[in-house]
Amino acid sequence: MAAFDYRQAREIRDVFRSCHVRYLFLGKSGAILLGYPDTTQDADLFVERSPKNGEALVRALRQLGFALTEAQAGEINRGKDFVQLKNGPFDLDLIFAPDGIERFEDAWSRRVEVEGFPVCHIDDIIASKAATNRQKDRESLPRLRSFRQYWLQHHRGSKEP
């Protein structure tokens, strides 16, 4: 499978918008959208957990080319905390209850729009990475925190949580 690219990111944005999916880019893919220079393999999406959004999400994923069985669609609909998709045109992680972020609504109110992409605020990205307490996240946190400083200096209009 080829690496995720700009065209696919735009497809997510456009298809999710047309299907009215409420979601935010989170994790390293979110940070990269904000301007953080680093590498990653997949896109992490923080998705609002609600029956209506679950149905919209399944519709959008199928439109994007993810081959979901009825059972898999049901698991997404019911809003499992974490779903890993590798059965489509690119790898996608769906996170319904990320560590370190209390409610979708809170993150939504702090979101940043980058060329139409809804992205978690850098503070939410850091909070979720810090809360996982994983080796790979711990290693990336000092540089991410430095990026936060840089980003806040250059995005004065962005809301401070």
């Binding site: 499978m1 080829a2 690496a3 995720f4 690219d5 700009y6 990111a9 893919s29 990269i32 959208l33 301007g35 953080y36 220079p37 680093d38 590498t39 990653t40 393999q41 081959a67 979901l68 898999q72 698991e75 997404i76 499992k80 905390d81 974490f82 779903v83 890993q84 998709l85 590798k86 059965n87 996170i95 209850a97 990320p98 560590d99 980058v114 060329e115 850098i122 503070d123 850091i126 909070a127 996982t132 307490n133 994983r134 080796q135 790979k136 711990r138 290693e139 540089r143 925190r145 430095s146 990026f147 936060r148 400083q149 840089y150 980003w151 806040l152 250059h154 401070e160 949580p161």
Partner: protein, 74 residues
């Protein structure tokens, strides 16, 4: 939650240079440089996985993935 009022150490010059270079690139270019595809054993071997809780997912990672992938908790 991070706070801007916390005393922040200076950004290391080499990182600052990287942030500034990235800021000069259009989003399309940034994404082209950022996303890579490498095989991750076990993790990449199933087309679909769903976990009822993040705790279940973290435990699954610790039990099933090689340590060197870095998914284990500290």
């Amino acid at each position: 939650m991070e706070s801007a009022s916390q005393e922040s150490p200076a950004i290391p010059p080499e990182w600052l240079e990287e942030f500034e270079a990235a800021a000069r690139r259009p989003l399309k270019t940034r994404l082209r440089y950022a996303f890579i595809q490498t095989y991750k054993p076990v993790l990449d071997d199933a087309p679909f996985r769903a976990f009822a809780s993040m705790e279940e997912y973290r435990r699954w990672c610790e039990t099933n993935l090689p340590d060197w992938l870095g998914y284990g908790r500290v």
